[in-house]
Amino acid sequence: MSLRLTTGNDHMQAQDSSKNTPDAAHFAALLQLIAEKRDRTAFVEIFEYFAPRVKSFLLGQGVAPAAADDVLQEVMLAVWNKAKLFDPKKAAPSTWIFAIARNKRIDRIRRETKPELDPEEPNLQPGAEEAADDAVLDTQRKSAVAEAMADLPQEQRICVELSFMKGLSHGEIAEHLRLPLGTVKSRIRLAFGRLRSELGDLQ
């Protein structure tokens, strides 16, 4: 079972294409043009759709506004350079780009902390995260995953959203919601199980 909902292949086979993320097959074709033809027009189109979204995601996860454009550039450059590695059978374009953005952000945090420094050094502590614009979901563009998310019990959904949209750890979510750590972990586990089984059914 797997959630690969929005791949090019699925698009062709899908009975109900409204369940698909907008234009997944189209973006997959653009990525292929980038990979094979080094097509800049395709890149500009990908940039125009994804860059404002990736930036929201980065800001939501606590990347400082001053650094966000920098990380965004790294992400989009990786899209250009690694388009050949995109496999529409494995992931939707938005999933692939999401994972690149996540990795670039984690790499950046890692580069900012060096192994030989004393962990007590104040500069190793994560910077006070600047209040970024809340990255709120647009209800007008609900994909199948977003619909399945909306069906989750609210207390489970909020734990998943805080993980993805704010990059909060289990401990941070527990603190934020004033819940025991074990409760947060079990809510995430339950939500994930439910999402996997619901979305698996769509395949």
Partner: protein, 213 residues
């Protein structure tokens, strides 16, 4: 797959979400590299991220970001480095250290034991590699926080059972724990600890400042 020795789903979701520290992210990625079932779950959780990315509010992006990128795109087909094949380290770890076990400087940690510190992070998190000779007992210790141990080579036993290559031992601060390395082959593990280990023996406590754990 022995699910008792694989990490639980809530960690896979947080990894996919980008909600773990760099040290824990690397632990999960390296662990998943051994298990198709874990990779499939990570891919599912990433699909949640992809859907959220489609649905997120848009931020303003300065036109200069695109212009700068277009000025710097390389039209030549990119060289995509093949994953570093290493006999012991899974790909995410080989990439992280940019080499294999033999390219690292192992430091003496006690008789038959050496270590390499890889990363220190917030909450006094330490990511390090442990190399121990077959047959030795690790000093008995407790933890001030979580301790995650991923076996990369060889095997060890604890009160929780036998841990072999690809297995993850997850101990929390309530556990006293004395891993026993199996006879024969050496054992190499990727370890993440929170806060200094609490050794029970005086001898281990005396060398602790030297080994930096």
């Amino acid at each position: 797959m022995n699910t008792a020795h694989t990490i639980q789903d809530e960690w896979l979701l947080s990894y996919a979400a980008g909600a773990l520290t760099p040290g824990r992210s690397l632990m999960v990625a390296a662990h998943a590299a051994y298990h198709d079932g874990l990779q499939e779950k990570v891919a599912d959780a990433e699909a949640i991220g992809g859907a959220l990315l489609d649905a997120v509010d848009l931020s303003n992006v300065d036109q200069r970001v695109l212009e700068h990128l277009l000025d710097n795109l390389n039209d030549a087909p990119p060289e995509i480095a093949a994953p570093r094949a290493d006999e012991i380290f899974p790909d995410p770890l080989a990439e992280f250290v940019d080499g294999g076990a033999d390219s690292l400087k192992w430091r003496f940690m006690g008789p038959g034991m050496s270590n390499v510190r890889l990363w220190n992070g917030p909450n006094d998190e330490r990511l390090w590699l442990l190399r121990a000779r077959g047959g030795i007992a690790m000093p008995e210790h407790g933890h001030n926080g979580d301790e995650w141990t991923l076996v990369l080579k060889g095997a060890f036993n604890t009160s929780q059972g036998r841990f072999a290559v690809g297995d993850m031992d997850i101990a929390d601060d309530a556990m006293e724990h004395q891993p026993l390395i199996e006879q024969g082959e050496e054992c190499i593990c990727l370890v993440l600890t929170e806060g200094p280990l609490r050794f029970n023996s005086l001898a281990a406590r005396m060398v602790q400042p030297l080994i930096g754990l």
